[in-house]
Symmetry: C2
Subunit: 311 residues, 2 copies
């Protein structure tokens, strides 16, 4: 395989109660990336469209991942990576993770699948480290495994793929304001009450159980974050107005995607997901803030091949 | 139905990482209770064998549950409850919960099943409140539902029954020392670090997922309590020696049952569960402490009918 085009999905991490341990990919929202073997060794990055992202491989999220993989494999070729970035950086739906996971996935195909899933996640985490300073896995893991990805532990890295109920859709509102991940980390309290933690882990246990049994009602009851959301929501204009409108639209629940500013809502069925989009639009039309809305099935698959041209 | 004999199981609550939210019943260890309709109204309690437990219904765990159910139903008969208490009080394997859950279950049969599962758990919680001052559900819920019972929330009460992997066995060491629930509550810290809580809820999510998929390896990796066990284990002599011996015996994991002093170990298959029993015995034979050991399948069913004599 000498040339390949892949889809690298947007992802939602910190699924309400499951802060720092759970994420899932979108089926229709994501980047496209071309990988072409070159005689010239090393990595070349090309960004399509008008992107401000750096193209020096050492400074590019996909670049650092690809360089690390080349270095470990010592092959006699190089790779040109062309990135059609459709997920806006800073959106909170895993823009850097898509590039990082996509790079790991695409490079692995050119390298004859020599790395397993856990290794790919570890490579992709290098991209996250470049992007945010922290090698977190809660976006890159689902972008690679597909489904709900549980990052149970980091040392050692232990990622568990969890079932996606068949009719589960996500609607995302991306208000085009900047929330720095570092700021939204800083604002969190370092300590919490044991009884609050117990409430949260009851909900997490409910959420995981609901995913396995496709119990939408339990899923809905469990989508409650008593720790992070009350703090981080201050960064997102009209957060609770949106949440209220989403509940009225019949969604299962909603929350902050990643560290924001995007808001996600989960729904049973596409029809409700579309109602959620209208509800988001109604509330945000009242503001001067530009926004995007995405509707997608929650994807059972992560990065995937779109086109595969062997030369 | 005028006369019935039931089995009320012992239960393990606080399953390692799942403090205060999860419990499961034993298949072979538990109390027997007879319920007989009487013309005399009210509740009469008889304790079999040599028990120090009070027999005034208002002061007896089964009694308060049964009284509450009679009061709500206003039937024209009374019930005599004969309790063959085989679970030692203070063992940490749900002695009071067995009486409370058994009373709710048995009375409901005489009352033509007019109460649903959630209502039965609420009645049984009255017994727990009498026994310990707190109307907790993490023993009575599994004793009634069977399987792993997740107490997701108390307000409103939301209990979710979770699958039991087929070959899952539990071995329990009950050192005959007294650990008061109130003391073992007092010793806990009220606050904890967010990063510690995240580690714990990663494990809980892993544990719930493992139960649903019968993934014994994940179950084993997830059976880790970084919050409660390090504190409460001080009350249990040779706790870490037992834990080490259990790991060497090939168990999936071990921890404190309820608030102790019992130690439970989960195993895949009866053979390993028996090895666990030997390991416990080896360590505790070195002490002057009397102890019991129980081996049982983890039960998919909670309270059950043993004999049913209609007159």
């Amino acid at each position: 395989m000498d040339r390949i085009t892949i889809f690298a999905p947007a992802t939602v991490a910190n699924v309400s109660c499951a802060f720092d341990v759970l994420g899932f990919p979108l089926e229709e929202t994501g980047d496209r990336m071309n990988f072409v073997k070159t005689n010239q060794k090393g990595i070349q990055i090309k960004m399509l469209g008008n992107s401000n992202l750096p193209t020096e491989p050492e400074k590019n999220v996909a670049g650092v991942v690809a360089l690390a993989m080349l270095e470990q494999t010592k092959v006699d070729f190089g790779v040109e990576i062309e990135i059609d970035k459709r997920i806006k950086p800073g959106s909170g739906i895993g823009s850097s993770a898509a590039s990082a996971a996509g790079a790991a996935f695409g490079m692995n195909l050119l390298l004859e699948n020599r790395f397993n899933t856990t290794e790919l996640i570890k490579f992709a985490m290098l991209g996250e480290k470049l992007a945010s300073g922290t090698a977190h896995a809660d976006n890159v893991a689902p972008a690679i495994t597909g489904g709900f990805a549980l990052v149970r532990s980091y040392e050692p890295l232990d990622v568990v793929k969890i079932n996606v109920p068949n009719e589960l859709y996500v609607t995302i509102l991306h208000p085009q304001i900047e929330v720095k991940t570092s700021d939204s980390r800083k604002i969190l309290k370092k300590d919490l009450e044991l009884k609050t933690a117990i409430k949260q882990w009851g909900n997490i246990a409910g959420l995981i159980s609901a995913l396995h049994t496709s119990d939408y009602e339990l899923l809905s009851r469990s989508l409650e974050d008593v720790i992070i959301e009350p703090i981080r929501s201050v960064f997102i204009p009209l957060f609770y107005e949106v949440k209220k409108a989403l509940a009225e639209a019949g969604t299962l629940g909603s929350g902050i995607s990643g560290s924001g500013p995007s808001i996600f809502a989960l729904s049973k069925g596409k029809e409700t997901a579309e109602k959620a989009a209208k509800a988001m639009q109604m509330v945000y039309s009242q503001t001067q803030i530009d926004f995007d809305i995405h509707i997608s099935k929650v994807a059972s698959q992560g990065c995937r091949i779109i086109r595969n041209n062997n030369e």
